[in-house]
């Protein structure tokens, strides 16, 4: 019983996250300006991190937690670098 509940809830959750990633990808493609694309990229890596977490719950392995942590750290750094680039025209002054 519990395995059925877990299986279907995690599967539906992964499908919803993939749909959210698709919305972000459409915004990256359509986004009228650069800052829209950077914002959609920010939302995209958060969705990817949540997808890894859902995969970790599904398989019961704690390995995916570290991957999610690395994605969140590097995503923050890349978003800040891109915002700095949009603001100043260069990343490291």
């Amino acid at each position: 019983m519990s395995s059925i509940i877990l299986y279907w809830s995690i599967t539906i959750s992964q499908l919803l996250l993939v749909a959210a990633m698709a919305c972000c990808a459409v915004r990256i493609i359509r986004g009228p300006r650069a800052q829209d694309r950077v914002l959609a990229f920010d939302a995209l890596y958060v969705c990817a991190m949540l997808l890894l977490l859902a995969f970790g719950i599904r398989t019961g392995a704690t390995l995916y937690f570290e991957a999610a942590l690395v994605i969140s750290v590097l995503g923050f750094v890349s978003t800040v670098a891109l915002a700095k680039f949009l603001m100043r025209g260069e990343v490291i002054e």
Binding site: I5, R27, T62, F76, L86, M87
Partner: protein, 131 residues
């Protein structure tokens, strides 16, 4: 985790509820990102995914691993703390960069430089004329 036969039903219900809540709210934020009209409206939408979306899935993961391993597993709090701290910083930097870009192009949708900046003393009087 799915193969665990001794996983209790209440824990499975809790994990499923929080996972569905988190991913549903993330999807809602992504749809908002897709449908809002201007950038300054769109910048609010993905925070739905970074607050309750992340919180829901991290709660599901914490409950699941705590029940599965019969000991408290709270290392997901690292991701929660990190996302909570970094999301406002990155989105504020992005919004400021966007505001700067719109102002330098004299866009009519944002207030110009003079309307919001504090009035600074005009550089006309030279420092020598002041007492």
């Amino acid at each position: 985790m799915i193969d665990a036969g001794d996983f209790p039903v209440w824990a499975a219900l809790l994990v499923g509820f929080f996972a569905l809540l988190g991913s549903g709210l993330t999807l809602l934020g992504a749809i908002g990102l897709l449908r809002f009209r201007s950038f300054y409206e769109r910048v609010h939408a993905p925070t739905l995914g970074t607050t309750w979306g992340t919180g829901g899935l991290l709660l599901a993961s914490m409950i699941g691993f705590t029940v599965l391993e019969s000991r408290p597993v709270v290392h997901e709090l690292l991701i929660a703390a990190f996302i909570t701290v970094t999301t406002p910083v990155s989105l504020m930097l992005l919004a400021r960069a966007s505001l700067y870009r719109d102002r330098t192009e004299n866009s009519t949708s944002v207030p110009p430089f003079e309307a919001v900046e504090t009035p600074e003393p005009s550089p006309e009087p030279s420092p020598e004329s002041k007492p």
